[in-house]
């Protein structure tokens, strides 16, 4: 399993648009990608679950990838977060 932490910089937090992009990015990978924040966790492919975590600016999200392409998935998600959130 590969994991990394990311502190949200987007001042609005994870709202609909980035969540949609995130889901799209996460679906590219075979690995199961899980987000953890605020004591909740959500599959990165579930838009509702991600939004219901209510992640705000400055909060830390732990992103875990597990599966055949977890290296690529983790790297891909990290790039995504840095670019969009």
């Amino acid at each position: 399993m590969k994991a990394f932490d990311y502190v949200i910089k987007d001042e609005i937090g994870i709202h609909a648009r980035p969540a949609g992009l995130l889901v799209k990015e996460a679906k590219k990978f075979e690995s199961t990608i899980t987000l953890k924040a605020n004591g909740k966790s959500a599959a990165a492919t579930k838009l509702m679950a991600i939004m219901s975590m209510g992640v705000k600016s400055g909060q830390t999200v732990t992103v875990e990838a597990e599966g055949a392409d977890e290296e690529a998935a983790s790297a891909g998600m990290q790039a995504f977060f840095e670019e969009n959130l």
């Binding site: 609005i12 075979e30 579930k46 219901s52 690529a72 891909g76």
Partner: protein, 712 residues
């Protein structure tokens, strides 16, 4: 930076493939020709009367031998042209001409410098050679590669140059040979001083490998195999085969550089009693590995496949194993397990090194033109006789390798439950199903071959993110090597659905592994790209088109329909009319939009509030029928930080259809948000669920807005 270097190396690697492709033919001519004109062999088999000197057959074989030999003798200039063609981006023929010009001029300059400085006698022995009739420095294929790379760089920079009016005739592509000529005059002079230093360096490195004996051979074999996934193995082994790095030897009175060159020089020299193992140790190890070891691995993968999938993987593994055995092209087989089970590949590399080392220890002297398949073994081992080659050891060691590979792979696959072909539950099934669908579709439409091929090219093109995203396309022996502008647009799943056994990314480089048929695929793709629409392709929309294809072919029936009612009174419209490309493009889900005229947002169905977003502009809603809805009031309303909204429910609350959930300050929203058009979306649609809009125009809260059709 690392990616850039990889990109360049990848292109260098693939540019080697054109000149390398000639080697099997040249080797065949030389191998057959020299074998059947070798009087020792003829005497052994009592064939002197039929094809001894003076007979017609002998003459034919002599011609064949000479025809093959000239290729090996002139490999440097062939590489100069081949690399220039491979590395040039456009107008490749000009690069080829320029490479020949530059090659001649560089060696002529070196030759002149040698004369000025007292002639070849003043140089170290073996340092000079006759290159196309020019007495020059012995630079081997490196000389050709230096020319090819340099000329291609000049070409890519200058082929569109515009010169002043009076000189315009010499502009554009015509300028490339001119500038190449000038540059390589200087390079030639410089090489006269630089190359002897490099020569000493190469020999020193070669000496280290040479002096580390068996261990050196092992390292060589291990490294060569390890580089295959990166497609960089050509860059690694060619110097050993073709330059002083692989040793220098005097054969028939001539100093020969490079392991492969030494072998072929010896092949043509009837006085040789046993081929030099110091040279063949860089080659012989491939035979037991490719003819015996890998097929053993293939058998293990077949045996460990799930019973219901054995039939499907049989064809794949058999053809891959045969390719490896006959031609020594191993990637089709290696790529069936390298991604799913890197551990197996690591073990494979260790055994590869060991194969080279064991062959070295057993004094096996079989060379090769291209790779270690049965064709090369027959020509350069069996036909040369055991006395000269010890080839019988290849079979003995090979059988051991077959058994070891079979049992080791079987054991590890079962023990660690590795997902080799036919053992993966989801991916593989999907892969076959999709190709089945394609096949069926082709069948029903009675599409001719041409159209079928075009469909494949189209899928590859789209999988790479569309024509506009493709920078250039090339191929080596087994893989399509592409460079794209935006690697995030590449869809591996789609590429794999075209029959690829693997996809490798590195920065903007994408390698798609197809096996030996890749050259045809590449040509078809290039033809297709000529006519393809110049656009970026978004792979997320592919999913839907593919789904549709699947649905059409299967004639799926709608088995259940769930109605979703409008949460607001207002005006309903198709989602694509949303004044926001994210929503309109269905990025967040599919559904409809409602522009509210009433201030209350009500529960569209019985269900549960999954969440009310902090800024109260969006509600996640789970209907009792199991549909996840996102009700997003207005566009960019997240920026209002809750102003204009009043939440009447909280997270986790159960609600009945029609219960008020939000109260809106419509006037405030209209003046502060770009739009109050509100998307109502299903965020988690399954592949078999589709949205059908039921109402456009005026709508009351609670009136059916759209239907979710669930197909079989």
């Amino acid at each position: 930076m690392k990616d850039k270097i990889f990109g360049v190396l990848q292109r260098v690697g693939r540019s080697f493939m054109l000149p390398i492709a000639i080697l099997p033919v040249a080797g065949l001519l030389l191998g057959l020709g020299s074998s059947f004109t070798n009087t020792t062999m003829l005497e052994t088999y009592g064939l002197m009367g039929v094809m001894g000197p003076g007979t017609v057959l002998n003459a034919i074989f002599q011609v064949m031998s000479a025809a093959g030999d000239i290729i090996f003798a002139n490999l440097p200039i062939i590489f100069a042209m081949g690399v220039a063609i491979g590395m040039a981006k456009k107008e490749k023929e000009v690069a080829a001409l320029a490479a020949v010009v530059a090659f001649f001029i560089m060696h002529a300059s070196i030759g002149a410098m040698i004369n000025i400085n007292g002639g070849a006698e003043q140089m170290l022995t073996g340092a000079t050679a006759s290159v196309c009739g020019i007495t020059s420095l012995q630079m081997g294929v490196f000389g050709g590669i230096i020319v090819g790379l340099g000329v291609a760089a000049l070409h890519n920079r200058f082929y569109k140059i515009e010169l002043p009016q009076v000189l315009s005739f010499f502009g554009g592509t015509r300028f490339v040979p001119i500038i190449s000529a000038l540059v390589y005059t200087v390079v030639g002079i410089a090489m006269f001083f630089i190359w002897p230093v490099i020569q000493n360096g190469i020999y020193a490195v070669g000496n280290v490998v040479m002096e580390s004996g068996y261990a050196g051979t092992w390292i060589y074999g291990f490294m060569e195999r390890l580089l295959i996934p990166f497609g960089l193995h050509h860059v690694f082994y060619l110097p050993f085969w073709q330059t002083g790095l692989g040793g220098t030897m005097v054969v028939a009175g001539q100093a020969i550089e490079g392991a492969q060159n030494i072998f072929f020089a010896q092949l043509g020299d009837p006085t040789v009693e046993h081929f030099a193992v110091s040279a063949t140790r860089f080659m012989s190890g491939k035979f037991p590995l490719m003819i015996f070891g890998l097929p053993g691995a293939a058998l293990a993968m077949y045996k460990t496949a799930k019973p219901e999938k054995k039939k499907a993987v049989f064809g794949l593994l058999l053809s891959a194993a045969l390719t490896s055995m006959l031609t020594g092209i191993t990637e089709p087989l290696e790529f069936t397990f390298i991604f799913v089970a890197p551990l197996l590949y690591g073990i494979h590399c260790v055994f590869a090194g060991a194969a080279y080392m064991i062959m070295h220890m057993l004094n096996v002297g079989v060379g090769m033109t291209f790779s270690g398949g049965i064709i090369d073994l027959t020509l350069f081992g069996i036909l040369q006789g055991n006395a000269k080659t010890n080839w019988i050891w290849i079979v003995v060691v090979g059988i051991v390798y077959f058994i070891v590979y079979y049992f080791l792979f079987s054991f590890l696959i079962k023990k660690l439950n590795l997902k080799t072909p036919g053992r993966d539950d989801s991916e593989e099934v999907k892969l076959y199903r999709r190709s089945d669908v394609d096949a069926r579709k082709k069948g029903t439409q009675a599409a001719d071959d041409g159209q079928a091929v075009d469909e494949m090219s189209r899928d590859i093109c789209n999988g790479l993110g569309g024509k506009k995203n493709i920078s250039d396309v090339d191929c080596c022996a087994t893989r399509l090597r592409c460079t794209v502008f935006d690697s995030s647009k590449v869809s591996d799943a789609m590429l794999k659905s075209t029959g690829a056994s693997g996809v490798i990314h590195k920065g903007n480089g994408v390698q798609i592994i197809y096996g030996p048929r890749v050259t045809v695929i590449k040509s078809n793709l290039e033809d297709y790209l000529e006519i393809a629409p110049d656009e970026v392709y978004d792979s997320s929309t592919t999913e839907t088109t593919e789904e549709e294809v699947q649905k059409e072919t299967k004639e799926t029936k709608v088995v259940q329909t769930i109605l979703i009612s409008s949460p607001m009174t207002g005006v309903a419209a198709d989602l694509s009319t949303a004044p926001d490309e994210g929503f309109a493009g269905k990025m967040m889900g599919d559904g409809a939009v409602v522009t509210p005229t009433d201030a209350v947002v009500r529960a569209p169905e019985d269900g549960e509030i999954a969440f009310v977003f902090d800024t109260k502009h969006a509600i996640g809603f789970m209907t009792d029928s199991g549909i996840s809805l996102l009700i997003h009031v207005g566009i960019d309303t997240v920026n209002l930080n809750g102003e204009g909204f009043e939440a009447l429910v909280e997270d986790g609350q159960k609600v009945k259809k029609g219960d008020p959930m939000l109260k809106l300050d419509l006037d405030y929203l209209k003046s502060h948000a770009p739009s109050i058009t509100s998307p109502v979306l299903c965020t988690e649609l399954e592949d078999n669920q589709k949205i059908r809009l039921l109402k456009e125009g005026d709508i009351q809260a609670g009136e059916a807005l759209f239907a979710v059709d669930i197909c079989e």
